[in-house]
């Protein structure tokens, strides 16, 4: 009998379907690998099992019995432990407190039993003796640890649940070889104990080393479950990509390569900073340069750093012929650099203010405008909004009254009044509908044709393949492959992204 079974589980966030139909069956004593590209629904599936996301439909069975998981607490009570990809640690608490946080041992019903807590935490800390590196102790505050050490603490915390079903959502992304080996030894032992383990990783070598079976998820749907020893990585990637995998990107949709012979818009030379290292490239005027690869491999970090919102430790940037080292976004904007983020709430929208105020802040900054007549501002704003086919009732309506797609159009429109030289797009279509996406990319291409240099990072590979002239694939913070011309295929993009870093 299967330990855990999911039948047709689904989840939608507003209009976006995060998980269409999730089916999964975990047997006792197996490591079951989940594979799928960015945004295919793996993490959503894991969070549904762990109770932190409530499904819209479908059923979950544990040991053959249908169950309702109403929250993380209930999941834990029903024997499910999870390692969260984004970690669930309290930075100002010690390592041992974090490991035991879910079930703090108490005496007299209210006081923490320090001795018991220490002993219990030590059981899990000792599993990793010798591989956690300098500055790690049971009493250290988690906030003072390195990224890999924090990841180890999250692993220990998941193990401390002693749950029969364990989920590990990308537990190894920051770990070094020795730490991974130790972790895999532990997983093998848990397997022998008859636990059911769900494992997500983007490193193919790890998957073949530890996995028994693999379930492939594509576009929120479970495609197939395979035995790993009866298959090979190429076949798995082909399943992830789907039928269209071998076809080159629709070249008809990408702009002609010949039109940007007019020189470099931006040159980046051996740029390093927090989250990326040694990145070099050149964007020609009129070129759309795609940044590909899995989530969080340094693409966003680099774009933000170029825009002056993140730290650069070494390397140089030039826009046109000038040396460019923006110390703040304000500085970057003045010098002709534009940035549009997919995280509108954090980086774009001025919440609750009228549309006109959301279109014009860049104009104010670039023109050093102090006082402006509403009518002349309107004259400037209208063409920019019209270029985006933005739908709105009045310039004075608050921006919140618009849909996500139209909000993003307003954000992009603000850069169109005074044209920048370089446009940095950081996953700009996150959470917006299809028709808005089409408008957006039509405009981006138009801007490229007008001679802007454009950097486009997208978590949706189809957008990159359909619009970028070249694609740099990021892996572990640096560019591991450049795809040009005929090489820009789904298959190549996936393969480069999933190669061991």
């Amino acid at each position: 009998m299967s330990k855990l079974k999911l039948n047709g589980v689904s989840k939608a966030y507003g209009a976006t379907l995060a998980l269409r139909r999730g089916d999964l069956e975990i047997a006792a004593g197996e490591v079951h690998v989940l594979m799928g590209s960015n945004g295919s629904g793996k993490s959503t599936l894991c969070k549904i099992i762990a109770g932190s996301v409530r499904p819209d439909g479908g059923e979950i069975l544990i040991d053959g019995q249908p169950v309702t998981i109403s929250g993380p607490q209930s999941a834990r009570a029903q024997g499910i432990g999870i390692f969260y990809q984004e970690l669930s640690l309290a930075g100002n608490r010690s390592v041992e407190e974090n490991i035991c946080l879910a079930m703090l041992p108490v005496k007299a019903r209210m006081f923490i039993d320090r001795a018991a807590l220490k002993a219990r935490a030590a059981r899990y800390i000792d599993l990793f003796t010798g591989v956690f590196g300098d500055g790690f102790a049971a009493e250290t505050l988690v906030g003072n640890l390195r990224a890999d050490q924090r990841q180890l603490v999250e692993i220990m915390k998941a193990l401390a649940s002693e749950a029969p079903i364990l989920i590990f959502d990308e537990p190894t992304s920051a770990l070094d070889r020795a730490q991974v080996d130790r972790f895999f030894d532990i997983l093998r032992r848990l397997k022998r104990d008859g636990r059911g383990i769900i494992f997500i990783s983007h490193r193919m070598d790890e998957i073949t080393a530890i996995g028994d079976r693999v379930t492939i998820i594509r576009d929120g749907e479970t495609i197939k479950t395979l035995n790993l020893n009866e298959t090979d990585p190429a076949a798995v990637i082909r399943l992830m990509v789907g039928g269209a995998g071998d076809m080159p990107a629709s070249r008809s949709s990408a702009p002609a390569v010949a039109s940007f012979a007019t020189g470099a818009a931006m040159t980046v030379d051996k740029l390093s900073g927090a989250g990326f290292r040694n990145v070099s490239f050149e964007v020609a005027k009129g070129e759309i340069l795609g940044l590909g690869g899995l989530h969080g491999q340094g693409q966003s970090a680099m774009l933000r750093a170029i825009f002056g919102a993140g730290a650069i430790t070494s390397g140089g940037i030039r826009i046109g012929g000038d040396h460019f080292d923006a110390r703040s976004p304000r500085d970057a904007i003045r010098r002709g650099c534009a940035y549009v983020s997919g995280d509108r709430g954090r980086d774009g929208v001025i919440v609750g203010r009228p549309i006109i105020e959301n279109v014009t802040p860049i104009h104010y900054l670039r023109d050093r405008l102090m006082i402006a007549h509403p009518r002349s501002l309107k004259e400037k704003a209208m063409p920019a909004l019209a270029a985006m086919h933005t739908k709105f009732a009045s310039l004075l309506h608050p921006i919140n009254s618009l849909s996500g797609g139209n909000q993003q159009k307003v954000i992009i429109a603000r850069w169109l009044i005074d044209r920048p030289d370089v446009l940095l797009l950081d996953d700009p279509t996150k959470g917006i509908d299809l028709s808005a996406k089409a408008d957006l990319f039509a405009l981006i291409r138009q801007l490229a044709a007008d001679g802007l240099g454009i950097l486009l990072y997208s978590s949706e590979d189809a957008e990159l393949l359909g619009n970028a002239n070249r694609i740099l694939v990021f892996n572990g913070g640096s560019v591991t492959r450049e795809l040009t011309g005929e090489d820009r295929t789904r298959y190549n993009l996936y393969q480069a992204a999933y190669e061991a870093a």
Binding site: I82, G91, V106, I112, F136
Partner: protein, 330 residues
């Protein structure tokens, strides 16, 4: 253990950081000592046994209120109704003690009901903020008006005196020692016990990262409500100290103390964002405010300038504490 040896070998700045991590109230302590020295310089008498006892019994209410505030701040919340809760408990116990005759039984009975009232106020805040998910600042501002309204109903005009037994005990001596010292000792014991409870660790974990705490499986809503309940409890204790000090009931007495309590929490070295708090620091922070006020007085500042100088001094102290903390943590 190996980590301990590396710690002692680490640089001076690293050692300071470790000290601050273990005793986050150190900057506040240094500031209190400096202010005491300044007070002594302007008026040697102010460091006498009598004056210090007086200072403690006057500011014990603010100390309690700052500690009350610390527990909600731990979870990343705030309580702008702490002062109003204090007022409500103040007028309620004064009225009850008067009605019941002012004897020992009346005092104890009124105090028990006072504690209960504080807890109820706290739980109301907790439900409004954590369960109904209203913004803590605005929601507790609203409940503060509500609590003040109830206090004004209980006692429309300030001035009803507390029974002599009550304030004579608070301001008097027991076995040769000022009563307020016993209050301080009891408070220290209570804080020590509370610091070992599961609840305080859970509050801090929620304040660190609410989403992470929820995903860990902690009952976040319940924990936050308990934090507010603790805040209500200490607000009631603050009301006892205040009643002992002023010997009367005043339905508006606590209003202006609320923001002082928030200031004391920050002066003590806690992070207003939550997850990193120190009750000892808040105690010292409240003393800092008291000492600044007495310093302004002893310096002979003209009365119309006293607010100005007080504000400036608190700003200065805040800056000194923040700079010291930032340098040590960098």
């Amino acid at each position: 253990m190996t980590p301990t040896t590396t710690e002692t070998l680490s640089s001076h700045a690293g050692g300071l950081k470790l000290w601050l991590e273990r005793y986050p109230f150190l900057p506040a302590l240094i500031i209190v000592v400096a202010l005491l020295a300044l007070n002594g310089a302007f008026s040697p008498n102010s460091l006498g046994y009598r004056s210090l006892t007086g200072l403690l019994s006057t500011y014990m209410a603010l100390i309690m209120l700052a500690i009350a505030q610390t527990y909600v701040v731990s979870a990343g919340d705030i309580d702008l109704s702490a002062g109003a809760t204090l007022s409500l408990v103040n007028v309620a116990i004064v009225v009850l003690m008067e009605k019941w005759g002012g004897g020992a039984g009346a005092v104890v009975g009124a105090m028990l009901l006072g504690v209960l009232l504080g807890l109820v106020c706290g739980v109301i805040n907790g439900i409004v903020v954590a369960a109904l998910r209203l913004q803590a600042i605005v929601a507790t501002f609203a409940t503060s008006i509500f609590f003040t309204g109830v206090a004004l109903y209980v006692m429309p005009v300030a001035g009803t005196p507390a029974p002599a037994l009550f304030w004579r005990t608070y301001g008097g001596r027991l076995l040769g020692l000022p009563f307020v010292f016993y209050v301080l000792a009891a408070l220290a014991l209570l804080l020590f016990l509370l610091s070992r409870t599961r609840l305080v660790t859970q509050l801090l974990a929620v304040g660190d990262d609410q989403q992470a705490a929820y995903q860990t499986g902690l009952p976040v809503v319940l924990i936050r409500i308990k934090g507010y309940a603790l805040c209500g409890l200490f607000s009631a204790l603050a009301a006892f100290c205040l009643t002992g000090d002023t010997a009367s009931g005043d339905p508006l007495v606590g209003g202006k103390m609320t923001l002082y309590s928030v200031a004391a929490v920050v002066l003590g070295g806690s992070a207003l964002a939550g997850g990193w708090t120190t009750v000892v620091g808040s105690l010292l922070g409240a003393l800092t405010i008291g000492l600044v006020n007495s310093l302004v007085f002893f310096m002979g500042t003209p009365s119309e300038w006293q607010n100005f100088v007080q504000g400036l001094a608190i700003l200065f102290v805040l800056m000194a504490g923040v700079l010291a903390g930032r340098r040590a943590r960098a």
